[in-house]
Structures are given as C-alpha cells and as structure tokens.
C-alpha cells in the first residue's frame, strides 16, 4: 500500500469499478452454466477490495467478473443458436 492510498482525501476518490453483479445473476439464470457464480464471487471481491482501499485489486476483480460474465453470456447464446439450428435441421430431415 503506498502513501497516496493511505490518505484518501488528498485526491478525488477513485470511482467504484463496475461489479457485474446483476449481469452475473442473469447469466446464472439464463445460461445454465456455473460461470454466473464465478461472476457473483468476483463481484463480492470487487466490493470488499474497494472498501478496504485496494483500488487496483477491485479493478482486477471487476475485469475478472466481466470476463466470466461475458464468456457465460456469449457461451449461452452460441449453445442456444446451435441448439436452434440442430432442431430445425432435425425437423427437416
């Protein structure tokens, strides 16, 4: 921890990084993969790290949460679309 972080009022406060909590819940509910849970756990880490003043840690956790939420989201879309194509092809065959 460096000197500036110990004096939070000497500079304008850093904005809270996005914690992706709601997006993680949506992925948990609609993409059926445990990736949403990884997102929720990272969201917890974003909040607690920011509150103890570990801004870089919070930013890193935010990136992780975003990464897993996006993987879950696009993974869900890909699986859904592949399934749709599969059903349509079976219906024709």
């Amino acid at each position: 921890m460096d000197f500036q972080q110990q004096q939070p009022f000497s500079q304008p406060p850093m904005p809270r990084p996005k914690n992706w909590l709601v997006e993680s819940i949506l992925v948990t509910l609609f993409c059926c993969l445990p990736l949403g849970i990884v997102g929720i756990i990272n969201a917890a880490s974003v909040n607690s790290r920011y509150d103890v003043g570990d801004y870089n840690g919070a930013l890193k956790a935010s990136e992780q949460a975003g990464k897993w939420t996006k993987i879950g989201f696009f993974g869900g879309i890909v699986v859904g679309v592949l399934y749709g194509i599969f059903v349509v092809m079976l219906g024709r065959g």
């Binding site: 909590l21 709601v22 819940i25 948990t28 059926c32 949403g36 756990i41 917890a44 909040n47």
Partner: protein, 131 residues
C-alpha cells in the same frame, strides 16, 4: 452517444420480441427452446433450470407455477427490475446512478450463498416446490 441510443433501442426491441415469444409459446410444448446443457449431461437441475418455463408462467400471471419452475428467478425479479430502473434513469438523465445496495460488501456474498444453496437444495427430495 449515437451508438448508445442505437444499442438501447435494439435492446428494447429484442426484449419485446422475447416477451412475445415466451408469452405465445409454452417452453414445455415446443422443442425449439434451448435446453440446459448441465441438465442434459447430469440429469440434475442447475440454478437456472426452469427459468424459461417460469417466464412463460409469469407472463400469464401464474406466480405459483413460476415459483414451482424456478424460485430463484422469481426472487431475483425485484432486484433486476430495480437495477434496470437505475439503468433507465441514468440513460434518460445522462448521469450515472448506481444502486448502493449492489455495492455493499455483503450483497454479492449473500447472493452467492443463496444461489449455491438453491442449486443443492432443489436437487434433494426435500425441495418443497416440485414441477
């Protein structure tokens, strides 16, 4: 800024399309709805299993059936609605509003515990809402 408006409109249109689809077609009767890969592979329910059926039930104002299909979805609904209320206000007023509760250190932890507990309990014979 221009792109943001485009994304916003496209998002709204997409949501309305999905509401139309899930209102008209019952996911238990039509095969084109995507199935859960976790359920397909293991035979167990994941925390998201039944959410398509629950949405169909909710759109037909059948809360009891929605709870039976996926309790977690019904419980998350108020959180999702309030969050998107904040997103909408931010978009309309051009200023960032954040719901402070989501940034409380305990909130995501409690949610993680609820999700994992729900995942386990719904696969036990003790789960009260069977579908």
């Amino acid at each position: 800024m221009k792109y943001k408006k485009l994304y916003f409109t496209a998002g709204c249109v997409l949501v309305l399309c999905f509401i139309g689809i899930y209102f008209t077609y019952n996911p238990t009767k039509y095969s084109f709805f995507p199935k859960c890969p976790f359920h397909y592979l293991t035979g167990l329910d994941c925390p998201g299993c039944g959410s398509q059926r629950a949405i169909h039930a909710l759109l037909h104002a059948n809360l009891a059936d929605a709870i039976r299909q996926n309790l977690l979805l019904v419980l998350s609904l108020p959180i999702l609605l309030i969050h998107f209320g904040y997103v909408l206000t931010s978009a309309l007023k051009g200023k960032k509003y954040k719901w402070a509760l989501l940034y409380h250190p305990l909130t995501p932890r409690i949610m993680a515990v609820i999700v994992i507990a729900f995942w386990i309990v719904r696969n036990t014979p003790y789960y009260p809402f069977k579908h």
